[in-house]
Every structure is written in structure tokens, then in C-alpha cells.
Symmetry: C2
Subunit: 85 residues, 2 copies
Amino acid sequence: MQQFRAAIYVTLKPVVNDPQGLAIADGLRHLGYGSVASVRAGKYIVVTLTAHTSQEAEQLVGQMCARLLANPVIEDYRFEVSLQQ
Amino acid sequence: MQQFRAAIYVTLKPVVNDPQGLAIADGLRHLGYGSVASVRAGKYIVVTLTAHTSQEAEQLVGQMCARLLANPVIEDYRFEVSLQQ
């Protein structure tokens, strides 16, 4: 068994309203950053797991995203799996 | 002026307790993913901004992270700035 590190990015779909991102954009503009055009806020989740192969790890992480980490109705996700040293 | 896209990753420092990550790890194990060793939860923020050069955009984003997006006492951040097509 080897240990893998999965970096998972969960983002709201582009058509979904993002109040957190709007609030961050407002905050940045109030601090003087008028050049900010837009902000989208998402989640960055790092999962460390054991698996026999990187294919198995990728399959497990894909299932975790679809079942728990992302809401497929309003969110997209992508991930990268790497062997941990 | 050109438009740039900054992908910002904000993570808790390794020594800081991460209740959200612990809750996600518990949830995954209850779903049957016993191979999960640990989970760390962070933020993924995409800022679109205008600047004259990529150096200027990187400098602005660095300031935004230090002043608003990350809490330097408990969080680390890193970011990648790319020219938007």
C-alpha cells in the first residue's frame, strides 16, 4: 500500500450566485483594490489516503467528491492525485 | 491594461487544529473510505483583476492575501497569476 495526496478543488458552477465571492470583492474594493473585476470563492481540500495504485486512489477520490465533498447540483470539482514521499 | 486571473490557495498552518478537515475525514470514513489518513480543509479563491503587467498583478494579489484573504497568524497562502485570454 502506498500513500497518496489528493488536492481537490470544489467551485460553484459559473451560473450559481456566489455571495462569499461578492463579499470578498466588496472588501477588496473598499481596501482600495479598484482593479478587482470579480471574485469566486471555493474550497480546497487535501485528502491523504492509502491505496495500491494511483488509479485506485484516483477512483476513490472521484467517488468521495461525488458522494460527499461536492454538491453536484451547484458545484464542480477537479482533483490531482500524487504519490506522497 | 490586461486582465489577469489569480488562483489563491489559503490553508491552515500545519500546527493549527482543523475541525472542518476532521469532520470531513469522519464523514468519509463513515461512508466506507477507511483508507483516508487525514483531511485538511482550505479555501480556493479566484480573483480576476486588471493590471499593466503580470508583475503588478502578482504584487497586488500578494497584498490582498496578506491584508484580507488570509489570516497570517494561523493560515498560509500561495497563488498563481495567469494572463486571461
